[in-house]
Symmetry: C2
Subunit: 297 residues, 2 copies
């Protein structure tokens, strides 16, 4: 069976009633499985994970964008995570019997439908139409507030929808990519500057690890800061490498790791690679994990 | 579907032709899935893992015992792992829709059939008929060589089969138990005494961890020694606890860990518990591992 994963991010992490309205679009839909959703009050954002047959997922995602456009007003939005739209980003990821190339087609289908709602859309990652739109952070630079000007620049003409800002819904990025591991390291300090400096050393653009994107965030509720990372190719840059590099940089500030978080879904191999490193396990294979023997029986 | 796991251990880890004859009993059998088999030359032992519908597994196991009784001669057997029979031990483990109590019944069925072949059988763990037969190590004490006398003791009258030693095939233990994690820690020293001393401190009977069994073994090929452990309840005594205790004891001898081995199958939760410890991951759930979403679809 063809299966695709979709992980839309909505800019609402506090109002549970609004969050439920959005999530409802993925419930009780044939061939769509709502895996999880994790509202984050600090980020003021909810990350929804669905797996299913591609056309069914595409339909449900479009429905959820309509709901988000109704219930979220970006003109009053505040949150620790960078954002530019009510539906901030919609990545499609291949799971079984699908390729990233097919996911690009699903992204375009969803992008066109969102454009038709009057919301500017940028295609990103493997769906990008220009090299400078590959990186989501480049698209999102300036965030919601900056897009009122940015969208007027001919370089930033949207791939779908009007070439003018939608004040209520902002703009949305839709893309296709390999499985991403979202890994946060929380530090025992309230000093955001420390998290920022560490993030800059760990990430690719700062001279750090090839497949790591990172930003520093404040966690006011916890009186901590966070190095929030996306590992965009866990096969080549493993979770443990990112963690060890954060620890190594944190030592120069006398700061320790409070704990870490793996957000959303994680391919088993990503867990194995890091467990094997810390425990010095030789030749641990995914097929040794009992649960893998029961897949697709 | 009812599924049981069976992990018979045969005392042949060097002659691949003999090993293949044994393993063949589990190939191309309806409702029996040969998962893996790992011949170990040092141990002179092969551990076979099968999962399947209980009655089909029982039938295939009995067939394999007949083959092992033909091709293995215990009177000439040597190997680093303690052993008492050509088929040393046959544990049944519940996987889906079965209980340990049902596994006790499968163990008895197999035990009776082996007894009928003229091989003495001891039921162990949850299938044990006396408290002193619960622990496999107590049954196996004295090993093959010691059983010529041990079997004459009325305390050690077999549960099935003749009350006299089978010189060619030895004796066999058949049992039912919870999933066991086989975890070996290889040490950068050829000194067996160090592995022995560490094993004694780490294991339950020596005052160590509640659900750890451990022995010291020599790995002559590698010029190393091994603390070979069975974790009989990974939910209560985690892999990382065993590893950290081995490391802690090894420090007093100035010995380091060369690497570790996880033998055979491992429930995902056992891996998660230890990865979460080393990476300080908060609230990592098995359902976050992508592969678990595809089970039984």
């Amino acid at each position: 069976m063809k299966r695709v994963m979709c992980i839309p991010n909505y800019s609402e992490g506090r109002d549970l009633e609004k969050i439920e309205k959005i999530v409802e679009c993925f419930r009780a839909k044939e061939n769509v499985r709502l895996i999880d959703y994790q509202p984050d009050a600090d980020h003021n954002r909810v990350v929804v994970e669905v797996i299913g047959e591609p056309s069914a997922v595409v339909k449900a995602v479009i429905e959820s964008v309509k709901v988000a456009a109704q219930v979220i007003d970006m003109s009053t939005h505040q949150g620790a995570h960078p954002r530019m739209g009510a539906v901030d980003v919609i990545p499609f990821i291949p799971v079984t019997e699908t390729t990233t190339a097919e996911c690009v087609e699903y992204a375009k289908e969803v992008g066109k439908a969102i454009g038709d709602m009057g919301i500017p859309v940028y295609l990103y990652e493997d769906a990008a139409t220009k090299p400078e739109r590959t990186n989501l952070a480049s698209i999102r630079k300036g965030q919601y507030e900056g897009f009122f000007d940015k969208i007027k620049d001919s370089e930033w003409k949207p791939d779908f929808g009007p070439a003018e800002m939608n004040a209520k819904s902002g703009v949305t990025a839709v893309g296709a990519r390999f499985h991403l591991v979202a890994f946060n390291v929380n530090l025992n300090t309230p000093n955001l500057e420390v998290a920022d400096k560490i993030a800059k050393k760990v990430r690719f653009i700062g001279g750090g690890l090839r497949f790591v994107k990172a930003i520093g965030l404040e966690l006011k509720e916890k009186n901590q800061v966070q190095v929030s990372m996306n590992l965009v190719n866990f096969e080549k840059t493993a979770i443990y490498q990112a963690l060890e590099m954060v620890k190594s940089e944190a030592r120069r500030y006398g700061v320790s790791v409070a704990n870490t978080e793996l957000i959303g879904l994680l391919p088993l191999q990503a867990l194995i690679d890091s467990a094997a490193y810390y425990m010095q396990i030789e030749d641990l294979k995914a097929e040794q994990v009992l649960e893998t023997l029961l897949i697709g029986e």
